[in-house]
Amino acid sequence: MSRENTKSNTENVLEISNLCVEYRTRDSVVKAVNGLDLTLKKGQALGVVGETGAGKTTTGLAVLGLIPNPPGVVTEGKIVLDGQDVLTKDARYLRGIRGKQVSMIFQDPMTSLNPVLPVNEQIAEVIRTHNKQLKPKEALEAAGDMLELVGIPRDRGGEYPHQFSGGMKQRVVIAIALACHPDVLIADEPTTALDVTIQAQVLEMMKELKKQYGTSMIMITHDLGIVADICDEVSVVYAGRVVEHGTLEDIFDHTLHPYTEGLFNSLPNMADRTQRLKPIKGLMPDPSNLPEGCAFCPRCNYAKDICARKKPGRLWSNDTHYVECHLYNEKNINSGEVLKGE
């Protein structure tokens, strides 16, 4: 903790600390996010990787204050955006920042656009909301610019979402998110619904735009390939907590957490197709019934007694890389060697 604070805070455009979110349904309380910390530096792209149900989308929504309530409740934590804790702000303030300072690209482009409105109106809407002095025509003009920016001819702006293909819809969603040049862009699996070739186009475009506008970006995904492609740092999330965080190199070449390791081992090796996959055994824990100790413990090949009992603390391996795992202590952390047996 202390080491984090020594870093120059001024660079951080978004800081999430100890975020806890619960979904309280009639039969159970789903602990979707459990003390999650994220830091996004200016102009950088942070990859957030994790399995289904790890709480990635929930975190993104929390930043925009859009967690559906009921059943969702933020029980703890701080989300500091532009020096302000958004969790303490009222609806009016939140509306002011949404789309302007922080915007989000949602998981499914097929359902993220309003089917009864032409796409340019949907883009113009966000522009006008944050530039009240603009006339509707000017806003539409600006929306046309945005469309061209994402590679859609401006004269197709009057068409409706159903007339667009999946890739084009995703571009429109991106255009909406970028229309007011937000400081922070949260991209929630922006390409999972798309074909590889289209995915490549969209990712390439996002990289371009990021460079052009210096937007800071959180890239939520479960595809380590995408992370390698466009991110600067990575947070690996498991059961609503960051279990390992570091730069690309830290994570890809100096993997520490057994879960991260498992993720890599699950991927087929492109170089050697005969190599057998080494999957992580078992399943994600039930978020309404989390284990007491380390959440990954039941699936971990290296689990020790203590893992089941006590939550591991955070351990920094270098200035940028930390892990939460009982396999490491102050002694072995820098060498990266695992404490086996014992």
């Binding site: 995915q199 490549a200 595809d223 380590l224 390939g225 690309l248 993720l263 991927l267 992580i280």
Partner: protein, 316 residues
Amino acid sequence: MSKPLLEVQNLVKYFPTKKGKLHAVDDVSFTIDRGRTLGVVGESGCGKSTTGRVILRLIEPTSGSIIFDGTDVRGLSADGLRKMRTRMQIIFQDPFSSLNPRMTVSQAIEEPIRLHGIITDKREREHRVLELMETVGLAPRLYNTYPHELDGGRRQRIGIARALAVNPEFIVCDEPVSALDVSIQAQILNLMEDLQEQLGLTYMFITHDLSVVHHFSDDIAVMYLGRLLEKAPSDQLFQNPAHPYTEALLSAIPIPSLHNRRQRILMKGEITSPVNPPKACRFANRCPKATDRCFNEEPELREIGPGHMTACFLYE
């Protein structure tokens, strides 16, 4: 391996639609040898699933021939087809919609055994179901549970057990892992590999995930808008892709590693409509290497190396 297990010749499937004929599968030919895996890749809507379904005659083909182990599948009577389906099976992409929500795990696995009268004794059948569950890694306590109580991975295991229940020789796997998380995906892939080894199965493995198909298949067929563009042994395809589309496709896969990254070849545009496509190379409008000829003629699939076929004018 003298004779291939499955031989598909000039398979065509057109769907009549309001706007015209939809060319879902257009003149596709390939063979699969016993005990081997043919991977089929391609973008969404290129006709992968349709090909798989037509082979099992879940959809009637428009034309072409399907020879399975010497039997013409198209010539089978309804009853013959039912028998044939103890030898050929299919696993579906979506583990959610491919299981009847009102049947328990055991009922679902038992159904094919019962329907084909493979085991008539009730006790024995129950035993067999439990055995199959064990084979695919489902705990016996799940015997009486319903699919909606289970996660995607387990459900996919039910689908596999169901397919295995009739002791098939050949299984069409229609994107069996694309709905699953990587960690679960790896579990299922390993399971399928083990089964192939133990039971000597032959697979047709449909996917759009190139890294998976590379890992899993002996041969790979690349489809585009109903057409087979390239077919080659797995390593051959990855090392020396012939068709510009295959090349672009390979370059588009994001590689989860910081080293030996590929230079991306970006294709312009998106897949065109498969309804009444013009007589031209279907990839021509997105192809960086297209010539005038590509827009006026359709290239034939031709052999360019041992087991390596492609349909492109660049290789004439």
